[in-house]
């Protein structure tokens, strides 16, 4: 047998080489997929962890209420616990601590201050003047830096000295002499929200948690951390943040890290003991890694589904090659049987040969898959995701290659040893078997589709198999359509004149082996087209998800409230055409009974919706059209206020009850941002009060003034009326106010009668008659504003909100924005509101909302971010405004992020593999077919056909078979794209993406692929047919005779 195998291998080496090539291709594909889901996935997790936003991986230890004598020791112990928790990773740490409050010297209002030490202060604040403090090394003296606002309010400058007295012994803080060496400005997003005064430098009614008392607080006095820790002052709070260096993380080390971090919390408590009243270690690391693993599972399932598809395709190619080889050896097998070789011996020979092929395929497949994987990793998207690797071999890869090669060669063995039956019997039997197999395939495919449709959170085996099953079932069913089509061609050919084309049609329709490669060709075409479409569908979905999640081209989520001029700075930095203040906040809707997160309110400038809003809408809709009517008909006017201008306000009130107003001025900058300028309550006794700092930027305009009128209920003897007249002297001419609206704000609209405003020169005079004591509770607010007061806010709501509330276009809604009730009318319903994917959300125009709020006496402007449309630059780091998120960046993260790169990478492999297998199958089939028919072809010469006519006949014959098969394959691929591709695409969490996935069929790429396949098939058939036509002559006739 060995000798037979050897001789046969020498004689039939091209056949064996073809079989080996197909098995190796399949095994290599599996090997690459194994590397993608093991090595690349492992690397991706580390890269994703290393690339995660620092706040998602930072481990922070918080301690509070530490006695002064323990401060340094607790800090050291906390740092040690953190450092050991982060082992085996290196980490940098940064501590921030604040002392208990102590009295400010020379004050009679119980004003207090506190010391703070911030380890990386130059990273967290910008020095305005002076220098950073140095450690003095003496407990009674220290250098300090003040925040700009604190210095201004306390009248301190560089060189000033402040002596803080000692605190009582229950919370010790020794006296200390502070020398101001610098003035600094806090940077946004630098953790100042954890400062006792939020980095504001001042709070009028601060409560430090020690008692119920509130007091004016100033600070911090920023000193070098060692001075604070060694100075003996008790600490109210202390935090140490550790930033692990995850650049070489592996799943195993990340698991260790998470376990250590979870364990660190009790360890810190145990280590610090009674020395601190509160200890906690917090980190987003665990959540970050869980999310990453979810995403990895999603990618892994998709990669495995594609790998299975490739394997099924390879199996189809191998079945064809095996069948052709068996046909080629039919004579030899018959001869061996005639010579007495038993079926068992033939089977042993087949197994031996298949085993040798499997061994060779493994030997080739392992290095090839390593090289291919390394090559893929150097191409986009893997290279861009930081997943480029050198060729490597893993146990899983070798196992996958070996299992794949063995499984595939089992097909070869079965093809070789299957029993030969009489043609009629075999035909019937095969027809029955094939019909049963088709039916079974369709049933399994249906089950797989149902499983995919059900979208269980964790993909199961059937879900993974579903794409391969569906395409195979589709291809098997599509094959049933080819014979009837060919029979039509046959009928047409009978009536036609000429021989070459009719003969080709007859050959195609009547030869049973004409479509022997049908399943492979149909499945490969289906796989190729499906692979391209799945890639396009996946990419489109990631773009859609990014568009909707960001909601615009660029957002800046502010770390601190917005300031006038910020929009102009952003526009200058980004080169954007449209920059709008915006917000996204929770919304209270009384009728809302929907599940999940509370409804969201999204506000922005909808007059530029086309440039600003992003997110897929149903065909035919666009954001400009959808949001038409949300914005006011005309922009707000207002009175120009020169930069740095100061207002002066004075008023009088009649009646016996002293009235006060807390004036609120609403100013708008050129970007549309409205900022509120408030002043302390002013008694209406004719005294003039300055209101400064309202217009820090150019181009501002006063758009509204609200005067909440208050009185002390103890002064009220009996209800009565009080006429008030308040004059606001602006820094410039007020101008014409005929378009202004003056009213008594809701809900106490009737409590200020005859509201009126009059302008003359730079004076704006507001008058009204206050119904003093007419009702209890609620502010009486006189408002004048430079625009009409809308009755309701027109809104576009998400489908989820509309369904949850059972409302439709035109329905009214009552919502609460902050504490103000706002009537809303639904102007449109969209699948999702930008920046609120999947949420029950309401989109309104910011200007309209602001007008309605203003009319209700609420001049707060609900802005927490900037939305930027069509920016040309995105680098806003220098402005230190907050978190910048771009649509392009989010798209890149979703499409080319390390955890997502596996699917597009394996699709890069699948499509060429499908093309290769198809062309190899066609070549094998045509070669065998024409060799079997060599004599027949030669005799065509004998009856007078020219070489050209013979070539035409052969080409047309295969074209009659191949073209319908390719078309059927493309149709199956298209149907697969429609039914399966959307179900294969998942969001990062494994849930269905939002917005829903729309199948993409990239016509250009699909037509290119089909053209490539047609050209490849034509070339393969053309070459073989040409050779055969050339050979058709006397010699061939002699051979067959």
């Amino acid at each position: 047998m060995i000798a037979l195998l050897g001789r046969r291998a020498r004689a039939q080496w091209p056949v064996l080489a073809a079989l080996l090539a197909v098995v190796t291709l399949g095994a290599t594909l599996l090997g690459v997929c194994a590397l993608l889901v093991t090595r690349s996935a492992s690397l991706a997790l580390g890269v994703a962890a290393a690339q995660a936003e620092p706040d998602r991986t930072t481990v922070t230890a918080y301690t509070a209420n530490i006695d002064g004598k323990d401060a340094a020791a607790v800090t050291d112990a906390t740092r040690a616990v953190l450092t050991s928790a982060i082992t085996p990773f290196g980490a940098t740490t940064a501590a921030r601590a604040s002392s208990v409050t102590r009295e400010l010297p020379g004050r009679t209002d119980d004003a207090r201050t506190y010391l703070s030490g911030v380890e990386d202060l130059p990273e967290k604040a910008a020095l305005v003047t002076g220098r950073w403090p140095r450690a003095a090394g003496h407990p009674a003296r220290a250098e300090t830096v003040l925040l700009e606002s604190t210095a201004k309010l306390l009248g301190l400058r560089v060189g000033s000295r402040v002596r803080l007295a000692a605190k009582p012994p229950d919370s010790p803080a020794p006296a200390v002499l502070l020398t101001v060496v610098g003035i600094a400005r806090p940077l946004p997003g630098a953790g100042w929200d954890r400062d006792p005064l939020d980095g504001a430098g001042y709070e009028a009614d601060h409560n430090d948690g020690d008692s119920m008392l509130t007091f004016p607080a100033y600070g911090p006095f920023l000193v070098a951390l060692p001075d604070l820790l060694d100075g003996g002052s008790s600490l109210s709070r202390m935090e140490i943040a550790a930033y692990p260096d995850l650049s070489h993380a592996t799943p195993a080390t990340l698991n260790t890290l998470v376990a250590n971090v979870l364990d660190a919390d009790p360890r810190l408590t145990g280590t610090v003991g009674e020395r601190a009243q509160f200890t906690r270690i917090a980190s987003g690391l665990t959540g970050t890694l869980i999310a990453a693993r979810h995403q990895q599972d999603v990618t892994e399932a998709a990669v495995l589904a594609v790998a299975l598809l490739g394997t099924v395709l390879t199996a189809a190619a191998l079945a064809l090659a095996g069948r052709l080889t068996a046909g080629l050896r039919a004579g030899e097998t018959a001869l061996l049987s005639a010579l007495g070789t038993s079926r068992a011996q033939l089977a042993v020979t087949a197994v031996l040969e298949a085993g040798l092929i499997a061994l060779a395929a493994v030997a080739l497949g392992v290095p090839l898959s390593s090289l291919l994987h390394a090559g893929l990793s150097h191409l986009a998207p893997m290279s861009g995701a930081g997943l480029a690797t050198a060729p490597q071999v893993s146990g899983g890869q070798v196992l996958a290659v070996a299992a794949g090669a063995l499984a595939l060669t089992v097909i070869l063995t079965l093809m070789a040893i299957r029993s030969e039956a009489a043609p009629g019997e075999r035909g019937r039997r095969e027809l029955l078997a094939r019909s049963g197999a088709d039916l079974l395939l369709v049933v399994f495919a249906g089950l797989g589709w149902w499983q995919l449709h059900a979208r269980s959170a964790t993909p199961d085996l059937l879900q993974t198999l579903a794409p391969a099953l569906l395409l195979t079932a589709g291809a098997a069913l599509a094959l049933r359509l080819v014979p009837p089509a060919l029979r039509v061609a046959d009928r047409l050919a009978r009536r036609a004149d000429g021989l070459p084309l009719p003969l080709a049609a007859f050959e195609a329709a009547r030869r049973p082996q004409a479509a022997a490669a049908g399943l492979l060709i149909c499945l490969a075409a289906a796989t190729g087209t499906f692979g391209i479409a799945l890639d396009a569908t996946w990419n489109r979905s990631q773009h859609d998800q990014a568009d909707l999640a960001v909601g615009t081209d660029l957002t800046v989520t502010l770390a601190t409230p917005p300031t006038p001029g910020q929009g102009g700075a952003i526009a200058a930095a980004t080169g954007a055409g449209v920059v709008s203040p915006a917000s996204k906040q929770g919304l209270a809707i009384g009728q809302w009974l929907g599940a999940g997160d509370p409804p969201q309110l999204v506000t922005t400038d909808t007059t530029h919706a086309a440039q600003l809003l992003r997110g897929r809408l149903p065909d035919g809709d666009d954001w400009a059209g959808v949001t038409r009517g949300l914005a006011p008909a005309a922009p707000a006017g207002g009175s120009p206020v020169p930069v740095g201008g100061t207002f002066v306000l004075a008023g009088r009130a009649t009646g016996s009850v002293p009235l006060t107003v807390a004036p609120k001025l609403l100013l708008q900058d050129p970007s549309g941002l409205r900022t509120l300028c408030t002043a302390a309550p002013i008694t209406l006794d004719g005294t003039r009060h300055r209101i400064a700092g309202c217009a820090p930027a150019d181009g501002m305009r006063l758009v509204a003034v609200a005067l909440p009128v208050e009185y002390d209920p103890y002064d009220l003897v009996a209800p009565g009326q009080s006429k008030i007249a308040v004059t606001l002297v602006a820094p410039g001419p007020v101008g014409d106010i005929t378009g202004w609206t003056t009213l008594s704000a809701e809900p106490m609209a009737g409590q200020i009668a005859f509201p009126a405003a009059r302008a003359a020169g730079n004076r704006l005079r507001l008058t009204g008659t206050v119904q003093v004591g007419a009702s209890e509770g609620g502010a009486l607010t006189l408002v004048t504003m430079a625009f009409p007061a809308p009755e309701v806010v027109p809104a576009v709501v998400s489908r989820r909100l509309a369904d949850g509330l059972g409302v439709h276009v035109g329905s009214p809604l009552e919502v609460a924005v902050g504490t103000t009730a706002v009537p809303i009318k639904i102007a449109g319903i969209v699948p999702d509101v930008p920046a609120a994917p999947g949420a029950a959300a309401v989109l309104v125009d910011l200007d309209t909302l602001s007008r309605v709020l203003t009319a209700r006496g609420d001049l707060e402007y609900p802005v927490d971010s900037w939305w930027v449309g069509e920016p040309t630059r995105t680098d806003l780091e220098g402005l230190h405004l907050g978190t910048v998120l771009t649509r392009a960046g989010e798209t890149a993260r979703l499409t080319a992020g390390p955890l997502n790169a596996g699917l597009p990478a394996v699709l890069l492999l699948l499509v060429p593999a499908a093309v290769l297998l198809l062309l190899a199958g066609v070549l094998l089939h045509v070669t065998h077919d024409l060799r079997d028919r060599a004599g027949e072809v030669a005799r065509l010469r004998g009856i007078g056909m020219t070489g050209r006519e013979i070539r035409t006949t052969l080409l047309a014959q295969h074209a009659f078979v191949l073209l319908p098969l390719l078309a059927a394959g493309a149709l199956v691929g298209a149907l697969g794209t429609l039914t399966v591709a959307p179900l294969l695409v998942r969001a990062e969490t494994g849930a269905p993406p939002i917005p829903a996935v729309t199948p993409a069929w990239p016509w250009g790429a699909e037509l290119l692929l089909l053209a490539l396949l047609v050209a490849g098939c034509t070339l393969a058939v053309g070459v073989v047919a040409g050779v055969q036509a050339r050979r058709a002559g006397a010699a061939q006739i002699r051979v067959v005779s």
Binding site: E936, L940, I943, G944, M945, T946, A1034
Partner: protein, 222 residues
């Protein structure tokens, strides 16, 4: 003369291993005659028929059919010759397996783009002639060897050739069937007025022939 062969030489291979299949073959055939080409296996009969039919080219010499120099024709000319003037009958019948008997007979007519109605009429006539009218829709695999050869003869006659070349037409048939096929051939030569050059071992065939040409080692011996 319908066929004039002059000084034909054909050698396969080169050097000491060269096989001289034809050596200075010269003969003429009158129109309307049936000539038997007789010789042992390997004597050069098939090579001579292939050269005459334009399926092979001689190293030297000329073949004129109906006055046309076959050896000077290019591939297209040779194909045209086989369509219009010369027809082949192969030992292994040479029928196209996927075509019915009628379609096989009609194949040469399709090549010359005979209109469908004329083609069907001619096919019916020829199948009648060879006695296979009842088997018109059967494919070669469903016919006996003798019936297949009759179909081959009908196909050969379809385009009304001037010269019929038959290479051992009874070689695959039993004696009785062979005789009936030979009789048929003789009959069509007479009825259709064609010239037939038939290679054979069959003495019956030799008896039916108007003339016998014997060939041995590539040379005409009688």
């Amino acid at each position: 003369m319908i066929l004039s062969v002059r000084g034909l030489h054909r050698t396969f291979g080169a050097g000491p291993a060269a096989v001289h299949a034809l050596r200075d073959i010269t003969f003429d055939i009158e129109p309307g005659t049936m000539v038997a080409l007789v010789g042992r296996s390997g004597s050069g009969k098939t090579t001579l028929l292939n050269v005459i039919g334009g399926l092979d080219r001689p190293d030297a010499g000329t073949v004129h059919i109906d006055g046309n120099d076959v050896t000077a024709l290019d591939e297209d000319g040779l194909s045209q010759l086989r369509r219009d003037t010369v027809s082949y009958i192969f030992q292994t019948f040479g029928l196209i397996p996927v075509l019915s008997a009628a379609e096989n007979v009609g194949a040469p007519l399709r090549l010359v783009r005979t209109p469908a109605a004329d083609r069907e009429k001619r096919v019916r006539l020829l199948l009648d002639l060879v006695g296979l009218s009842d088997h018109a829709e059967q494919r070669p695999g469903e016919l006996s060897g003798g019936q297949q050869q009759r179909v081959a003869i009908a196909r050969a006659l379809a385009a009304s050739p001037r010269l019929l070349i038959a290479d051992e037409p009874t070689g695959q048939l039993d004696a009785e069937t062979g005789r009936s096929v030979m009789a048929l051939l003789r009959g069509v030569v007479e009825s259709e007025g064609v010239t037939a050059l038939v290679s054979t071992h069959d003495p019956v065939m030799m008896a039916l022939a108007d003339r016998v040409i014997r060939i041995s080692d590539g040379q005409i011996v009688a």
